[in-house]
Point group: C2
Chain length 164, copies 2
């Protein structure tokens, strides 16, 4: 191959991903990523897969609001799944493949369960808020009708029908 893997340094990666260099080192310290590579000196060097991993970490942190502990577990499952995929394709044994696939199914199911729970709880709250919104919107509609209808008529006007 003539293509050199363009290894990048921490601040460069940090800027792209939207994390601080400190946070990246912290995640490394916490075991969320492996040192990637080191330069002749000892600068950390990152490749594209590292960048993707860091983007995933940032998404889990900022978008989903998971703690680093949660992220650790989620990534462990992902990593395990990736390794399983490799092992799956490297073995010829169908029963071994079945075992690996079943293990993967368990992990994915656990992940789905976690997400389902979080979503369901948030949806209960959302339903509650939506119901409140509907009631308030109804009130506004009625008030607007009353004000634009007989509203200006302090001098004895017939009451207008209020639309549901």
């Amino acid at each position: 191959m003539l293509e050199e893997a363009p290894l990048r340094r921490i601040q460069d990666v940090a800027d792209e991903v939207g994390l601080t260099a400190r946070a990246i080192r912290y995640y490394e310290e916490m075991g969320l990523l492996t040192p990637a590579a080191r330069s002749g000196g000892s600068h950390r060097l990152y490749d594209e897969s590292d960048v993707e991993r860091l983007q995933a970490i940032r998404g889990l942190r900022d978008d989903a609001g998971f703690s680093v502990g949660d992220i650790t577990r989620l990534l462990e499952d992902s990593d395990h799944l990736a390794r399983s995929r490799a092992a799956f394709h490297e073995t010829q044994s169908r029963s071994e493949r079945l075992r690996i696939a079943r293990d993967g199914l368990g992990r994915v199911d656990r992940r789905i369960g976690l997400l389902d729970e979080k979503i369901e709880r948030l949806q209960v709250m959302l339903a509650d808020a939506s119901a409140r919104r509907t009631r308030i919107a109804g009130k506004i509609d009625r008030l607007e009708a009353e004000l634009s209808g007989p509203g200006a008529a302090t001098a004895g006007r017939a009451p207008a029908e209020v639309p549901a």
Copy 2:
């Protein structure tokens, strides 16, 4: 009224709600609830609405994973809505009622927006996991078919049905 409000003390409430007394005092310190009442000495005393509020706080913390900062804002909105409801019914002015209702609508909409965002992000993750699940389940199905089909057929055996 002959019914005395049964005011309860902190550990009692803490046990029921599933928080520690320390946490309850902390939330008070953070302004999430007002002192409720105090005994002749200076013990905190809680009524049913306090208990409900603490349960709401706990739900937001444990179920939805909101930070105390988030909870502060959510409860502020709720409190404001409650006060608005009272003010709404106490005024006769239709334009004042309209103003209050529109303010309430804004608050509810903000809350809905927050929840929508969180849910949407989690659903993207869920969709991803579900797709993976589908692929893995497909693999398992095929492997099971291969194993129970021609797999055992080294000795020429009919494939047994696998119950779902």
